[in-house]
Each structure stands twice: as structure tokens, then as C-alpha cells.
């Protein structure tokens, strides 16, 4: 015999469903946090109310089970979702509740670099840096030079532009058999940097290339300190050609060692910007400087075992993904600045 509690003292007939008075329906659910970054495990909600309902989210949030913003499980695909605050609702038997979940970018992490053999290993990018299109350029990279076994009185280019012009456009390292210094050839002959880069340590190299009516002006910074100032080339360069990493094939100058965090800017960066890139001697997130190209050199990279080609997804604005030449999967190393 059911017992009815009529707290408002209503008069009339009371209908009792044939199944009796069942439990009330609840759409209560929750995630264990209100915000997740994209490198975290995809979270699944806990349904504390009635099971068997469905989830729906605002556009931009992607659920694992469907690849859309509708779901039966509510597990969020963080890496596929946009960075934003998303509303998620759970509906069961016409009852609905909602939460707001934030998806944030993964924190900056640098665990990889690429090692180059100095024989024929490079990356091509397809990024054209002809001075007519990009008159002011900044090139930035971290290098760990290893010139053991390399012939003396040679040059190599950790980054640069494939060009018919014999000098100037790349970051150029000269090796005299024991030490390796930055070299710029131009008005007045050769100008060398002062820091020996062949010391087994990581160094940051940044070179600005500035258009001037009289020619092209170079400045070079090692570990955020300017070592070559306002070196003038009479010619305007780079003339033509694409940005490349670890070797200028037209000049047979291949880099031997490790390279990390390569970036290109379509402007001449200030000393403040350069200090931001160098930080305290380790790479950091440079997205706020709006690079034209940014290759993480191991992060945001995929290896196709069928073709044997690495692809580096461009993290800059240009969308020029880099592809490897003559490299293998094992060339990605856990050796970083």
C-alpha cells in the first residue's frame, strides 16, 4: 500500500502510475576539473544522475566517440577541440543540466632536436624569402655544433636560403679546425663573431637581414649578445630561393650537429624580442612574437615510415611545413638546449 505525502493539503484524486512512483530523473554530471590543457588525457564525465542520456556541446568542442559535438559518453577529445570555454549539456528523459569546460593550449615543452650528419641531411620548407617579397628577415635557431671529423677551413649553414648568391643569406659558421665562429662576408671582407660555437654546448644564433637602399645589412647575435654589427653587403639578398635547414644544397655546405627551435620572422627583431627568444638560455614559447615560420624540430613532427620522410608542422603563420631530405627516424634526438 503506497503512502502519499500531501504536504500542500490539496484536494482531489491522485493518480499512481502503474509502475509505481519511480525515482526522480536527474541530469547531474561533472568533470573532475573545470579546465584542461590539450596535452592532458581526454577527460570523461561522471554521471551522478540518471544514466542513458546524451551530451551536446557548443561548436569547437569535439567528443571522442563521435568526432563531433554530440556524444553518448561525454569524453572530450582535447587535442581536437578548440582553445576556448565550451558549454556542455547532458540531457536525459527531458531533463537537462550543463557545465562550462575550458580547453587551453598545452604548456610549452621542448624535448627533441634533430641531429644532422654533415653529409647530406637537410629539411626543405618551401618558404620563399626573396628580398623583393620579404625585405626584412630575422632567422633564429639553437645549435649544438659537432665538428669532429669535419675538414678545417670550411663553412656550414644551420639555416639559410637556397640561393645562387654565394654569401650572406644563410647563418654561416666558419670552422678553422678547432673553433667555429659566425662569419659574414660583405663590405670590407670577412667579419667573424667571437664565441666559439664548437664547444659541445647549445647556443642560440639569431641573424637579422635588413633591406637598405645601399644594400643589405646584417646583425648577428649569439646567446642574445650582438657579435656582428651592421655588416653591409652591397647586393640585396636573398635574391631568390627557399628557406632550408642544415644545408644549402647549392653551396654544398651541410651542418653537422643538432638543431632545435628554428624560426623566421618577416621583420627585424628588437633586442627586447631577442632577449625574449633567448630567455634564460632555454627555448620558450615564441608565438607572441608572431613568427612567419616556426619549426619545433621534433615536437609537432611526424615520420612516415613508408616514405622515410619527416614532416615538421609549421607553427608560424606561413603554413610552410618542412620535409626531410635523406634523414631517418632515429635522427630525432632527446638532446635539447
Amino acid at each position: 500500500m503506497p503512502i502519499l505525502y500531501n504536504k500542500d493539503k490539496k484536494n482531489g484524486l491522485f493518480y499512481i502510475p502503474s509502475g509505481g512512483l519511480g525515482p526522480s530523473v536527474s541530469a547531474a554530471f561533472s568533470y573532475d576539473k573545470s579546465s584542461y590543457n590539450q596535452s592532458e588525457s581526454d577527460p570523461t564525465p561522471t554521471i551522478t544522475g540518471t544514466a542513458g542520456g546524451s551530451f551536446n556541446a557548443t561548436a569547437g568542442l569535439v567528443f571522442v566517440d563521435t568526432g563531433t559535438h554530440n556524444s553518448s559518453t561525454g569524453q572530450i577529445d582535447l587535442s581536437a577541440s578548440t582553445i576556448d570555454n565550451h558549454s556542455i549539456t547532458y540531457t536525459v528523459d527531458g531533463v537537462q543540466s550543463g557545465v562550462t569546460i575550458g580547453v587551453t593550449a598545452a604548456p610549452f615543452s621542448n624535448v627533441y632536436s634533430f641531429e644532422f650528419d654533415g653529409v647530406d641531411e637537410t629539411f626543405s620548407t618551401g618558404l620563399s624569402l626573396a628580398y623583393t617579397a620579404v625585405p626584412n628577415v630575422t632567422l633564429s635557431c639553437w645549435v649544438k655544433v659537432n665538428y669532429t671529423g669535419v675538414g678545417a677551413h670550411t663553412s656550414s649553414y644551420p639555416v639559410g636560403i637556397n640561393s645562387s648568391h654565394p654569401n650572406g643569406s644563410p647563418i654561416r659558421l666558419h670552422y678553422n679546425g678547432s673553433t667555429s665562429l659566425i662569419l659574414i662576408q660583405g663590405q670590407g671582407g670577412n667579419t667573424f663573431g667571437t664565441t666559439n660555437l664548437n664547444d659541445g654546448n647549445w647556443h642560440h644564433i639569431l641573424q637579422t637581414i635588413q633591406y637598405d637602399t645601399g644594400g643589405t645589412i646584417f646583425n648577428v647575435y649569439i646567446d642574445s649578445v650582438k657579435e656582428i654589427t651592421d655588416k653591409l653587403l652591397y647586393a640585396h639578398i636573398p635574391l631568390t630561393g627557399d628557406f632550408v635547414i642544415a644545408g644549402i644544397t647549392t653551396s654544398t655546405k651541410y651542418f653537422k650537429g643538432n638543431i632545435d627551435e628554428v624560426s623566421v620572422f618577416n621583420s627585424v627583431l628588437s633586442q627586447t624580442d631577442i632577449n625574449t627568444i633567448y630567455g634564460s638560455g632555454t627555448p620558450s614559447n615564441i608565438s607572441s612574437l608572431n613568427p612567419l615560420a616556426w619549426y619545433r624540430m621534433g615536437e609537432e613532427a611526424t615520420f612516415n615510415s613508408g616514405t622515410g620522410i619527416w614532416t615538421l608542422t609549421d607553427q608560424g603563420s606561413g603554413g610552410n611545413d618542412a620535409t626531410s631530405n635523406n634523414m631517418e627516424e632515429a635522427d630525432r634526438k632527446t638532446d635539447t638546449p
Binding site: 647530406d120 669535419v150 670577412n190 655546405k253 622515410g308 635523406n326
Partner: protein
């Protein structure tokens, strides 16, 4: 890390005979050529069949330190200093 790959110098006329699935180079378009473009270099961990079956005869078979020394010569590198 020590580089134990074998580097082999071949005659440019053999370029079309190279099976690039068996070597470290990506394609015929990416091999390093000598300055006069009469020779090119390949590298591998396991001897490719086109060499073992003598379809291609190497000009030279080198280890890593030996190929670095060769690449530093005037025959393989331009000197712009």
C-alpha cells in the same frame, strides 16, 4: 651517438639503378653530388641488393669519419673563404 652507417660513393651513371627504399637518401633529387656531378653518395645500414648483386659497383665504400673527410675535399665542397 656513434654513426655506424656505411657511406658509398657511386658513379652518377648508376643513379637510376638505386632503389631508394633501401638507402637513407630520399630520392634521386636529394642525393649529394660531387662538384663536377660525376659521383654521388648514399648511406645505409644494410647493404642494398643492387650492390650485393653487383648491379651497381661502388667507387668507394666508407665509414662515417672517412666520408666526412671526403666531403671536405675540393671535389665535394666549394671553398668560398
Amino acid at each position: 651517438m656513434e654513426n655506424n652507417r656505411t657511406y658509398t660513393i657511386l658513379n652518377i651513371s648508376d643513379l637510376a639503378k638505386v632503389d631508394f627504399s633501401q638507402v637513407g637518401e630520399t630520392s634521386a633529387n636529394t642525393v649529394r653530388k660531387s662538384i663536377d656531378e660525376t659521383q654521388f653518395a648514399i648511406k645505409y645500414n644494410t647493404t642494398p641488393t643492387f650492390i650485393s648483386d653487383k648491379a651497381v659497383t661502388p667507387i668507394d665504400v666508407l665509414n662515417y669519419s672517412e666520408v666526412l673527410a671526403l666531403m671536405a675535399t675540393d671535389a665535394w665542397s666549394t671553398n668560398e673563404e
